[in-house]
Symmetry: C2
Subunit: 406 residues, 2 copies
């Protein structure tokens, strides 16, 4: 079978595990390491493909769970697949939906709702059953997982095979296997059993992936990544890294609970990445805060995604190098008459044309344009940071750049 993806490491940093490479996909070549911009519902919230192209975005990640529920993968297949549907000609990956299914369930089980649904609220809301002892909105069995749609409460079922089928219909360049995301509150024993099942699911996903690749009349050039799980338990993470590395995946994602603290997240990467094959691309799911970016790149991650840059933008938190936590809160009264751009050194459309005072006004007046201009800046900020990071890795200066940034 023709290879959908080709990954080449051009340079490995002698001081860290960082590396620079190119990931070639059917829809374009990606320079790594790079940030993957989130486009959950087949749109990067508040900006369009014309913006993305200007912002140096190389690859998007959309979400199988959300697109399955709305508008449905068959609608997108009929419309020519995700690239054509959303008007983005560049590379796309899709998350399997495992995180969304299980984060909803875990939230109900443990009362730590990710999607803002707590047992009491769910009860009042009417269409979601609250969790009781041993009862959850999400039921996992050997075959797959049953859950209810967060949109209308309708019963849903995902299996490793159906999730491959959905992604065949969506048509991204990179697909991910269905995995069970355990919560930080799950114990060792549960996490171990869930991991073993996730590994059996990975094998089933591979079988379906090969079948559907052969059956397709016009075999779509798509790659499939396995996902390393295992919570914050070292032996489970190592076991998972070895298992997934031993399979014929096009790349390897690291997912699930990355520990309760940043230190634990670093440990998980330190345990996992040395066991992964050097020649395959590595994706880290759900990480993207500025300080984290340096840490994950120096540990050998090639791509990573996170909603933070775009979500922060919509909340008026603009990414800049010289503020606490790298965030300028534009709604703050001190910006009311500030004629400076967000960042005087930034060449994004927003900074080249608008003052902090204007953005302050747009956010205060709840104008929709605020969202677009802020998102343009934050996405551009990430693109520019990644250019600097790739340059620094190439020159063996990643830790120097990291120190410059704090």
């Amino acid at each position: 079978m023709q290879e959908a993806l080709a990954f080449t490491v051009h340079h490995s940093d002698p001081h860290t595990q960082a590396r620079i490479g190119t990931l070639t996909t059917p829809h374009g070549v990606i320079q790594t390491p790079t940030f993957v911009t989130v486009g959950t519902q087949a749109t990067v919230k508040a900006i369009a493909p014309d913006d993305l192209a200007r912002l140096g975005v190389q690859i998007l990640i959309a979400n199988t769970y959300h697109l399955h529920l709305r508008p449905g993968e068959e609608v997108i297949r009929e419309l020519g697949g995700l690239h054509r549907f959303m008007g983005w000609p560049g590379p796309i990956m899709t998350d399997s939906g495992g995180f969304q299914v299980f984060s909803l369930g875990a939230g109900i089980e443990h009362g730590v709702g990710k999607i803002g649904i707590f047992p009491e609220e769910a009860e009042r809301g009417g269409h979601l059953r609250p969790a009781r002892q041993g009862q959850s909105l999400v039921r996992v069995d050997e075959e797959g997982v049953s859950f209810r749609s967060h949109l209308d409460g309708s019963p849903q079922r995902f299996t490793p095979e159906s999730v491959i089928d959905m992604q065949r219909a969506l048509g991204p360049d990179i697909m991910l296997v269905l995995d069970e995301c355990t919560s930080p509150l799950h114990d060792y024993e549960y996490t171990r059993r869930a991991l073993e099942r996730t590994h059996r699911w990975a094998d089933r996903a591979l079988v379906r992936f090969r079948e559907t690749g052969r059956q397709a009349k016009r075999p779509k050039a798509q790659g499939l990544y396995g996902i390393v799980q295992g919570g914050a338990f070292r032996d489970l993470r190592e076991q998972s890294a070895r298992f997934i590395s031993g399979r014929d995946f096009d790349g390897i994602a690291i997912g699930g609970s990355l520990g309760a603290s940043k230190t634990e997240m670093h440990e998980v990467l330190d345990w996992t990445i040395p066991l992964l094959p050097a020649e395959k691309p590595r994706h880290l799911l759900g990480i993207g805060a500025i300080p984290d970016i340096f840490e994950v790149v120096r540990r050998g991650v090639d791509t990573f995604d996170c909603v933070a840059p775009t979500r922060l933008a919509r909340l008026g938190a603009l990414l800049v190098r010289d503020e606490l936590d790298y965030k300028l809160t534009i709604t703050n009264a001190r910006f009311e008459r500030d004629s400076a751009p967000i960042d005087a050194n930034c060449d994004c459309y927003t900074c080249q044309n608008f003052s902090r005072a204007y953005l302050h006004h747009l956010f205060n007046a709840k104008e929709i344009l605020a969202m677009r201009l802020a998102t343009i800046h934050n996405v551009h900020f990430l693109s520019r940071l990644m250019v600097q990071i790739r340059q620094a890795v190439a020159e063996g200066q990643l830790d120097a750049l990291k120190r410059e940034w704090r």
Copy 2:
């Protein structure tokens, strides 16, 4: 004093009152007749200046009432004026705020709230006094008008002079005098007295306009339009048309209640426009539905503004020639799998890149991008229609074009 505006009529249609011309402003030349895109709070909702430039937009109208309340005209003056503040280098006009002040007041007086505040709701809301017999949120006297901010209930005062001062601070190319907008529910006697006061206000505005023009160290090149009022009463409209025509305004706007029906609106124009000097530009306030556009252009209107095209866009009503009422309701289920663009003959960014199915999905999923893509289409639709209309007027074919459009 240097003329801020220059208007030239190039051709008058022998069959109708329509004419084509150019209106030269300090920030660019406008081909008339043209639609003026609404940018109430110093932004055209959901799109940015880079969009506007691509869409063939010639001129915007912002609102003095809204900008006075937030962020305040002094903030905008400090930031270099409206053009620089909002990053739009082309012509801008500002409405005086009269309509907003009085439409709020009339809503309270007559229980037909424009801004959604009914007496009972205002009472519950706490900060707005409900109207009782003879009591209103808006109090007009000879000097000016007192009202409360719709944002925070704070007491506010506008006079013909203060509104000129505000617009000097905002710095648009075209300013409008403060007028009293009577409601269709006001009787002849009230409308007559209000009109006479509005005329005295117009003279005071002219005096202040001349003073501030002389006082300015760098006299800003701004023009001032008078406003014809008089409700749906023929003799009052004629009296007002003669009065405003006799004053030294740079252009003439037609405002206020344009009657309770389209027929009455046409009558108001038929009474008024023949009395206006041919050499001055004429602006019609608040009109912009497709069928109305043909009617007002054929009666000799040069520019007109309306929130409808942009507001409809945000509600998912997309302007097309071949649908009932020229609106395609994209949220309709029949578009779920429709791979066609909104309009196959449209060359806007939205139609060139996205299907009806994608827009349907974005509106269903309440994605912000829906607003931008829909607004781009509707604004482009208006621009393109006006190009056709100008061409038709030049060729004496306006009524033929109107028939083609229904």
